[in-house]
Amino acid sequence: MTGAASGSRHLGRHRFSPLELLPLAAAIAAYYLFPGYLSLGASVLVMAIFAVALDLVIGFAGIVTLGHAVFFGVGAYGAARMSMAGLADPIVTALLAGLLAALLAALTGPFVLRLKHLPLIMVTVAIVMIVHEAANKAAWLTGGHDGLPALVFGDVLGQFAWSIYGTTSYVYALAWLVLLVAVSRVIVSSPFGVALQGIRQNELRMRVMGAPVLLQQTVIYSYSAFLAGVAGALHAQINGFVSLDTLTVDLGVFALAMIVLGGIGRIYGAIVGAAVYMLVQYFAQQWDPYYWMLAIGILLVLVVRFGKGGILGILETLWLRLRPGRIGAPQKAAGEREPGE
């Protein structure tokens, strides 16, 4: 009876598609083709991790939050304080920073996640604002407005020194992204992952089926916070400083724009969205430092207007059209919905 799973999108997610190697191949190619842009590349990869974290809660579990920057910020400041306290190994500090963020999510999740829709959005926005202000006041811990500058982290694996060209940063961030995407992929393909998507589509029904909904949501919220915390730590390690910019509502809104742009609920959409968003932002800023948001805005409007499912959704539609003999059979088409995954 397992053959029945073949036409199913949610039950077939664990199957690996060679297309999944495309983003990795592009990242490796970029390393060799654009050696002058590796620092930019590293920050794209860090934002991609953060965007994947947000996609897991919004795109899969339907938890619409604008407060995820709290976990990014906690990870960033956590890693910074660890380095100042003499714990400088980047991998260990990133892991601990991620765990710190996850712990915070596990403690707050059971309260915050009882809320839905607008109240949830408002409360998560309020939390970021409060934490931002608290961090501003607690200068002894966070450096207040000046942030924590001149952070020093040890060599990666004790071998690879940080350089101003960003070679180490780039490869290090890419390795984290690949690892975290691989684990996230396993999680969204699991019975737990399918249940999350059930919660997003019809939460009441899941409750009536006896699903421990709040616990399931808290688990994904905490795992997602772990990713956000690791992203924050990488941000601190790659830039060598942490500022209050890591604790803003803006950061959560930008990440939301990235996942909408790339395609929500696909993981790879978050990566593509982060890359396109960051690159357009970078080059538009060079073109005009004041009106760069215009370029992003127009891009977002176009993608949302003309494509369902973001950039990956558009590519998928094109792919299905270009493959002959696939259109007439609706049952087959339903099974081929997600060639990007």
């Binding site: 019975p191 249940a195 998507q197 059930g198 339903a334």
Partner: protein, 261 residues
């Protein structure tokens, strides 16, 4: 009130009002193991509200609900489901953007407590998938297993509703108008599914179709304006003059006041 011998499900003096509107009045209801009871009454009598109260989706204003003699009035729908109380929904309440298999799989995997299983692919959860496939074939939807629920006819969606309920291994099954929207020609399928239910299962079916009530129910409870009008063996209740006047009279004319009992 010993758990072993008493009724499996009991409602004691249930009341529910929404503001000034009282939709459930002092309802007493009990189901024994193996019960086949129908709940009938004119539109607006509060039948669906009663199912909501029993399943825990709606909280009563007063009164108590017992499963196996244990007070569950304050328990969530999820806990009641885990205790074996399962309901279907009158209006299809499925996962529209998922396939039939995915819908039933979700129910099976919750029942098998796989909801927190993070590291194994759902697509290789053979135990749950096999059982989901079995239930889908039981309601004769095998050929449609991989189709999106939204693409199916309404009557077929009703059958998925039943498959999901059975996936949860109910000891008490509340069927909220299972036949609504099913074409007459396909009713036999629903009836045979109900016939095949575990004889120990307690079944409460809300239904307008009197032929189905006669066929399925051994006992009938009549609800009018939120209160129990009468209750007893199907044959006796359905011939009672009062029931015929209130129920059959009003169902033809819709919800009208002067026919009050």
């Amino acid at each position: 009130m010993t758990a072993a011998a008493g009724p499996i499900l009991q409602a004691l003096r249930l009341n529910k009002h929404f503001g000034a509107l009282q939709v459930t009045r002092d309802v007493d209801l009990s189901l024994e193991r193996g019960a086949r009871r129908a709940l009938i009454g004119p539109n607006g009598a509060g039948k669906t509200t009663l199912v909501g109260l029993l399943s825990g989706v709606i909280r009563p204003s007063s009164g108590r609900i017992l499963i196996d003699g244990r007070d569950v009035t304050d328990m969530s729908p999820a806990r009641r489901t885990r205790m074996g109380l399962v309901r279907t929904f009158q209006i299809s309440n499925l996962f529209q953007d998922m396939t039939v298999l995915e819908n039933v799989y979700l129910a099976v995997s919750q029942e098998r407590r796989r909801g927190l299983d993070l590291f194994r692919p759902a697509g290789r959860d053979h135990g749950s998938l096999d059982r989901a496939g079995e239930l889908i074939r039981k309601v004769r939807l095998g050929p449609h297993a991989d189709r999106l629920v939204a693409e199916l006819a309404y009557g077929q969606q009703r059958l998925i509703e039943v498959a999901i309920a059975l996936a949860l291994r109910p000891r008490i099954l509340l069927l909220d108008e299972p036949a609504a929207g099913i074409p007459t020609g396909e009713l036999d399928l629903l009836l045979s599914v109900i016939d095949e239910l575990d004889p120990d299962m307690a079944v409460l079916v809300i239904e307008h179709d009197m032929a189905l009530v006669r066929r399925v129910a051994r006992d009938v409870t009549v609800l009018v304006h939120g209160a129990v009008l009468t209750s007893g063996p199907t044959a006796e209740v359905l011939v009672s003059a009062e029931v015929r006047r209130v129920y059959l009279g009003e169902s033809a004319a819709g919800e009208r006041g002067p026919h009050d009992a």
